[in-house]
């Protein structure tokens, strides 16, 4: 039994759903960000595997994954900066306590 594209896609789908589960259940904002990193990695795995198993394999799948990594790095930097700024102001890290704009 050889490895096919389906193996990698099923693995990526399971990883994606684990990340979604974490993003919903975590209360801590840093925990939510870490679960989102799992989601990004699932997407990247899909892209790289799809590029690898094309009839004429090329590097475009890896290229897209590279762009996703750059966007994820920017997202992670900004998210952590916002968490740090809110923490300095109000000493909260739980996402449901960040309700400055609620009233």
């Amino acid at each position: 039994m050889t490895l096919t594209l389906t193996h990698y896609l099923v693995l990526a789908a399971l990883l994606f759903c684990l990340g979604v589960y974490g993003a919903i259940t975590r209360k801590n904002a840093i925990g939510i960000l870490m679960a989102l990193e799992l989601v990004f990695n699932a997407v990247n795995l899909t892209l790289v595997a799809a590029g690898r198993f094309r009839p004429q394999p090329d590097a475009v799948g890896q290229l897209f994954a590279l762009f996703v990594i750059a966007a994820a790095a920017a997202e992670s930097i900004l998210g952590l900066a916002i968490i740090l700024a809110i923490y300095r102001r109000r000493v909260v890290v739980n996402a449901d306590e960040m309700d400055l704009m609620k009233n």
């Binding site: 870490m34 690898r52 994820a72 930097i77 700024a85």
Partner: protein
């Protein structure tokens, strides 16, 4: 055959560590399990022939993103000595939603498994040529997104400095 066994070992390790990332109660441990999960993804990239991407994954994700997350965990924890345990909410709805989504995608994938093609010979892509091909794409037909990514990263960097800095000046 050895490749298949290696894939299943890595897949099990990946799902185990990812499950621990989203369920373990100590957030510091969650960050370390995240590093393990990202490393296993890098190993899968090597299996797919994407050597350059595996190096980028280790350098940027484990070397920068996880370390940054650990820094922020420590910064938001040690000031007050607040407990590091994580509370959970909506466990059953979240488990239901993700399990249903997973079963939907997996069933659809397995139904279309015959049409997604057979395995490609290992030497088809990858190796040292992949990095060169990536560079040629980046400065060739993908040069506009490449430049846009540099603008995105620069603006994210400046925004992060401004967000963290201004607040401290005003309040202290």
């Amino acid at each position: 055959m050895a490749e298949t066994i290696l894939f299943y070992v890595l897949a099990g390790l990946l799902l185990l560590s990812a499950g621990l990332v989203v369920t373990v109660r100590n957030i510091f441990h969650a960050a370390l399990y995240l590093a393990l999960a990202l490393f296993v993804v890098a190993a899968l990239y090597v299996m797919l022939g994407a050597y350059f991407l595996a190096a980028v994954q280790v350098l940027i994700y484990i070397g920068a993103v996880v370390i940054l997350a650990i820094f922020v965990i420590n910064l938001t924890r040690t000031v007050t000595g607040a407990p590091v345990t994580l509370t959970r909410r909506w466990v059953i709805p979240a488990a239901l939603v993700s399990a249903l989504t997973a079963s939907l995608i997996v069933v659809a994938l397995l139904k279309s498994a015959g049409t997604t093609g057979a395995a490609v010979p290992a030497a088809a892509v990858g190796g040292e040529g992949a990095a060169a091909a990536l560079g040629r794409h980046l400065l060739g037909d993908f040069v506009l997104p490449f430049e846009l990514v540099s603008v995105l990263l620069l603006s994210a960097l400046i925004a992060a400095v401004v967000i963290v800095n201004k607040d401290g000046e005003e309040d202290r």
